[in-house]
Each structure stands twice: as C-alpha cells, then as structure tokens.
Symmetry: C2
C-alpha cells in the first residue's frame, strides 16, 4: 500500500526531523535528491558525513569547530578580555556576521528554564565563571534572547559572576534599525523610551 520503500523511507523519516520540514516536504526533498543523485545527493551525503565526523564543540567557548579550539578562541587578536555570552551557536554566527564584536564568545547551549527542568548545571555556566576568573576577563556582555527565560538566565549570570568582580553588560533594547514605530510592540517602545538618549 505504501510508496517509498526501505532506505528511501528511512531517509524521508530522518529528513522529516529537520526543523522546517514535515513528512510531506521531506518526501519532496528526498525525491529532489533522488533525481539529482550524482550532482547533489552524493556530494551532500559526503559533506554531511565528513562534517559530522570532524565537528566538535570548542573546548573553551562551545562554538562548533573542526579543531580542539575554535578559530576565534585561537586568535590572539580576539583575546580582548571581553566575553560575549550567547544562547546558541546560531547567535554567535549572527554576531560574527555583523562584524561589530571583536572579542571572544561563550556559548551557553540554552537558557535556564525551570519548566523544562534546565538548570545551571545543564548549561555551560560553571565553565563561564571559571573562565572569567582564570582569564581575568574585563567585561562579560550578555547577548541573550529578550524572552522570559533569556532574561532570567541573564539575571542568574549577573549574580553568579558578581564574585569575580567582572563588569557585566547586556545588549541595548530599543527600536530596530529600519523599524517603524507603529509596527513595534509596546514592550519595545517602552524599553526604547526608558533608554532614550540626548540627540
């Protein structure tokens, strides 16, 4: 009664576990791959296997890397004493693409979430405190999401880092560049108004 069989079926099931793909779009994607077996499917499988085998978490910051230590942690020019704390590697990539930060990172791997039973020991928080102490960092910049869990985590980190004496800052909240006021939520407008500066 079914269409695809064996490996093809397994492949569709695995693809359907990717974010943004459901069973139907996974099937379409797999059919597309099967039509381009030599030009797309084989190179994709090879690159994926190689990347899965070679990628690891940077021993210092948690960034994804093919080495023991990622390029950012390994670059002497980036040892500025500033450590930017992010939830996830995706956030690190976004900050790197802006080109605005030249220090180092620390990837938490999530945010504190009592409801999901994510506590400090599940994230890389003890590592962060030890790292700040050991490297005598000058500033920790909290670049965490502006969600309840993100801000809870930020407050927790500020408390945990208090013993080290490091300066703790966080990203400014306000009107996004190109943002129009009548499309913004009230929280953002309130935050932007409170943090207003002389022109």
């Amino acid at each position: 009664m079914s269409g695809p069989k064996g490996d093809i079926e397994t492949l569709i099931a695995l693809m359907a576990r990717l974010p943004g793909l459901g069973p139907r779009s996974a099937r379409r994607a797999v059919l597309h791959l099967l039509r381009k077996r030599d030009l797309l499917m084989a190179p994709l499988a090879e690159t994926m296997a190689r990347t899965a085998a070679s990628t690891r978490d940077c021993a210092i910051c948690g960034n994804l890397t093919a080495q023991e230590i990622c390029e950012i942690c390994a670059a002497p020019a980036r040892a500025t004493g500033e450590i930017c704390v992010v939830e996830d590697v995706a956030d690190l990539w976004a900050l790197e693409q802006s080109g605005a930060f030249r220090g180092q990172y620390h990837v938490l791997g999530g945010t504190l979430s009592p409801l999901d039973a994510v506590g400090p020991e599940d994230l890389r928080i003890p590592d962060l405190v030890a790292r700040v102490t050991d490297t005598r960092a000058t500033e920790v910049i909290l670049a965490l999401p502006a969600t309840v869990d993100g801000q809870t985590t930020a407050h927790y980190l500020a408390d945990a880092l208090a013993v080290t004496g490091v300066t703790v800052s966080s990203l400014a909240q306000g009107v996004p560049v190109g943002g129009e006021l009548d499309y913004l939520d009230e929280g953002t407008i309130t935050a932007a108004l409170r943090a207003r500066r002389s022109f």
Copy 2:
C-alpha cells in the same frame, strides 16, 4: 566577517538547494544536525550515501528502485495489462498510497513543454509506445496533471498510442472527496457538471 566556515558552509549551501529550504532555513537545519551529530546527522549521511549509490531508475517503468526492475514491474500479480502513465515518481507514490490501482506504471519524467523545450524524445514516450506494443497492454490510464502541459501531453500520448490499438483512458475530473462547492474553481465545477452521473 562570516559565521560558518569550510565544510559547514558547503553543507548549508547544498541543503539550501533542496525544495522548501532557503539559505536561512538551511542554516537552521544544519545547526540542528550539528547539535545531533551522533543521533541524527551521521545516520542521515550514511542513509543518504547508501541510497544515492543503490537507487536507480527501473528499466521498465522509470520508478525508483534498488534493483534493475522495480518491485511493481517484478510482481506477476501486477501484470494486469493496465499501464498507468504518471508524470513523476511522486505521483506514482501517491497512487500507490491510495491502493486503488493494481496494475503497472510508466513514469514519463515530465510533461511536454514547448516553452521549456521539452519534446517527446526528452520523456519516456517512445519507451511507452514500444512497451504497450511488446506487452500487448489492454489499457493505458493517463494520470497526468490537470494543467495545460499535462493535458497537452495526454493528447499527444493518445495520438501516439493510436497505432497500437490500446484503450486509452484518463482520470475522472470532478469534485474532490470532502470538497465544498463554494471553494472550488469554475473549471472543476464545469467539469463535474459535464461528467454528472445518475444518482
């Protein structure tokens, strides 16, 4: 100034070529894979490589298969003399999932499209005519899309098959099961009315 590097960047570029994924969602998918390197990424790469290497087009009908001849063409019970012509393997899978057809298939690999310079020799049309003649098929059921190109192809096939004397039929057009009239287009309503039957 970029985030991902080397293999990861290549992987994102390859994933972005899948239907339904753009550069942004490909990046999200790859990050998801990198987070589940052992549980998802490695098995996916392995299944993909194995499937790419083992899958081929069925020598008779054009279905995807791991053998020389697909299971449907190889099953004696399905040699009913009925050949259902579809545009694509996805359509074959859809028909198989309905379980309503117990004959064999013929996958064209596209539809005639003068604008895209797709002619009869680019599809498996000569194969179909030869197959109908050689196997003394009793009926060819055209299950082609109800688009201009699909219907052009259907007419071309009916003409090309005329010399073989085979019965040529096509899928009924009408109201989809569960369809509500006020959501249907005029063409479908007109077709359903023309093909009305006694109750």
